[in-house]
Subunit: 221 residues, 2 copies
Amino acid sequence: MTVPQLSESTEMYLKAMAEFGNRDVAIARLAERLSVTPVSANEMIKKLGEQGLVSHTPYKGVNLTEKGRNVACDVLRRQRLWEVFLYEHLKIEWAKIYELACSLEHATAPEVTEALAVFLGNPKTCPRGNPIPDENGEFTPLDGVILSDVSIGETVTILAVNATNTDVLTYFQDKKLLPGQEVTLVEAAPMQGPLTVLVDGREVALGLLLAEFVLVKSKSS
Amino acid sequence: MTVPQLSESTEMYLKAMAEFGNRDVAIARLAERLSVTPVSANEMIKKLGEQGLVSHTPYKGVNLTEKGRNVACDVLRRQRLWEVFLYEHLKIEWAKIYELACSLEHATAPEVTEALAVFLGNPKTCPRGNPIPDENGEFTPLDGVILSDVSIGETVTILAVNATNTDVLTYFQDKKLLPGQEVTLVEAAPMQGPLTVLVDGREVALGLLLAEFVLVKSKSS
DNA sequence: TGAAATAATAAGGTTAACCATAACATTTTA
DNA sequence: TAAAATGTTATGGTTAACCTTATTATTTCA
């Protein structure tokens, strides 16, 4: 009790936008991601705009303002620190930590965030591979490409898995598509068909939408 | 996100009632404790009654039903486990842990609660001295008396400090009135005047309302 | 026992964050 | 370039948990 200056809902909108990257996002995409109707998202974006947290260009999309981005980075920091704790210390299943950490993040006072960071040894990345912003909101974005942009035959290492939905994460977990894992792109079916990748000696078919969640690093680069 | 079946508000009402002990509590007391108006508390109690969580006898008070008590014990378990974590592992100041743990408790899924208990080594008491219910909601109530019931000259050990307000807790912390501490009752001023207790070689004056928060164990018993 | 204190209820209001439906505006694309 | 798709706004509605200001009921105690 008595943590939030900004509502949980506000934090979720800002975090979702940050996860989309530093670019204009269609309100409809945001709405999808947050499981609300586009109308609701529109209302909310209007309020966030009035608070100077986002800027919305009609028919173009929304993006975070600097103020909004600062808040978002703080939320991401809390989220990802809790992910580390749940995974490393509580031994909770990889696929579940995103959702569980998400609940905790909104209930976390700054004091707890910083003490947690110290306890965890100021980790740089979360178990899903994403960088953890430092106390000033700074972090080095991952340098990688999405799996669907890799060429056939190439072998790459997974840097991060950016899904947030537990079912999707469970699928990645089952297929061993986890950060650090080496995968080889075997085939890309035509007409937006699935990619076939070789993971740990086994072939896995991945729809393009799923493949977009996977950020990889070429062995060469 | 996606933790609560019962609202945070519901959990707070039930927890507060559990903290009052297994007895009828005046709705006005509850309202005070939760910082809401008696009218609001009445409305809420009515709803909780409809859900079978509490039973209210007009002009007598409210108490938890068995169902309500089970929920409350679960909330207390989460609360107190987080207190242990914040105090023992994150090294957060004793006086602040109640409030910080309170925020976290409502965002904690059963899975996290149990993993946390294991991580902490299934502690039996929280840093404020209160027992932590086990996963079935069972716990042994403390066997002690409140400080204001101790006789003059007696030396006792503090079992628990039941305050929940951070300012009050800070006061106890400053005066070293913490679980495990030995204190001697020196004087009880007349007309509901303060108690004077000897703590760690220093005399401390404690209003009766404050003294009621302190549960102690006689050296003899 | 009757007045004061306390408790309960009634009535009407607020806020945040949703929802649906419908109308209107702009952009994309065939 | 017009129709389809997408995005925006308008309108009105819901829910939970609060609030205030009465009014009414019960209990306590002088």
